[in-house]
Assembly symmetry: C2
Homo-oligomer: 227 residues x 2
DNA sequence: CCAATAAATGAATGACGTTCATTTATCTCC
DNA sequence: GGAGATAAATGAACGTCATTCATTTATTGG
């Protein structure tokens, strides 16, 4: 795609003469409608037809503003990224800031796991909200005394954990029910039972907290300055 | 689904009289064909029609052995689980065993990321290979001196990290290219550049190693016995 | 040989994402 | 105040899927 890379927010540069028909649709409206649809009907309910209907428009009209359903997903993702709370990196100690950020990040994407496969592989180019988050997080790491070369890998590791944990948060309570194979997995079955008197209680939150603590401790040891 | 839960491997119990037509198809054959199709054409190429064609059969025939495409994915997932190397838990020190297991696990699912959303939420009931892995890993944790209650959360945390890292391993090298927004993200851009003279080298492997070390150290501290 | 069983077939269905020729509305320029 | 250019919206179509179902085919026990 060797295009002149139009400025963001403008699909194509204004040309010579006449103006078009009044736009009922734009990317922001599409994004908002998609988010509402997702929250009401889930990702299965997010179809181009349903999205168009919720906007009072024919499905084909969407394609004047968006090149594909995948682009809709990218727009939604960017919007969600802007809701991740990374404010702690400018006010709190590093450990606290990471914790706050990680909980917020996981909380948001736990309800949007279908996006994770998109995000994890999506270049940040032209994703301003995502970049803003990375900038703030990077600053926080620098301020905490991390050597520059360790910062990106540390963030990548934390993000991997957060994404995986977001999936986890959606697991059913009985995910570890070994059923009729319990006899052949005695240690595992016993370990699951030790978690509580209730059968089948899945420790998603406890696990997230434990792993996050471990990562914070382990990565924190990479700092060369105390503050 | 209040059924008598038929024994696995048998779709329905043998009944009274005559035997059916000679079966050209079975679940193992379908699983093998699906895996080959995936390795050749990727997950986009895995359609019920393509799967049937590769087996020399009409698409509808598949539904005599499998209730849906989702079940095909579950069969593939179970097969992949059997290839994860957890042997270290009976021979190596805990840290080494975890490392070996995690690398193997990530390596396999990095090429099967579309399955991760399925696995992470799929009950282990009637998933013998998955259960066998959990049993071996649990035993390794017990042998290493973990209190029983800490084991499942620790495994869940490690798995979350492994799944997230599997997505990461597929990120393009230029995922962190901040493009024309580089000026507004100076610290982040500089941190990315510090990773090497080459533009856009993504530190997926380095990040995995760093985060895994952190998790091993942090979780390892939960052991109450030295061995 | 008959009846029962289950596998395989092929046609059909209903979503879905996407395309395209056409129409509609709006603005600039003369 | 037309004329023409521009882009948005429409509605009909397409191709691809997963899935269903009535029917046929093959096999075997009695």
């Amino acid at each position: 795609m060797p295009e002149p890379t139009p400025a963001p927010g403008e699909t194509k540069a204004r040309r010579r003469a006449g103006r078009p028909m009044a736009a009922v649709l734009d990317q922001d409206g599409i994004t908002a409608a998609a988010l509402e649809l997702i929250s009401k009907k889930g990702y299965d309910g997010l179809t181009m037809a349903a999205l168009a209907r919720s906007l009072g428009v024919a499905p084909s009209a969407l394609y004047n503003h968006v090149s594909s359903k995948d682009e809709v997903l990218k727009l939604v993702e960017e919007d969600l990224m802007s809701k991740v709370d990374f404010g702690g990196f400018s006010t709190l100690p590093w450990e606290e800031a990471v914790r706050q950020w990680a909980y917020s990040y996981r909380g948001i994407f736990a309800r949007h796991t279908p996006l994770i496969s998109v995000i994890a592989v999506l270049p940040v180019t032209d994703a301003p909200q995502t970049l803003a988050m990375y900038e703030a997080v990077t600053e926080g790491f620098l301020r905490a005394g991390f050597p520059e070369k360790q910062i990106i890998p540390s963030i990548v590791a934390l993000e991997a954990y957060i994404f995986g944990a977001a999936f986890d948060a959606n697991a059913p309570a009985d995910i570890f029910d070994s059923g009729r194979l319990a006899d052949s997995t005695p240690h595992f079955t016993s370990a699951v039972r030790s978690l509580g008197p209730e059968r089948n209680n899945y420790p998603s939150d406890l696990a997230f907290s434990m792993g996050l603590d471990a990562l914070i401790t382990g990565l924190g040891a990479l700092r060369t300055q105390p503050n």
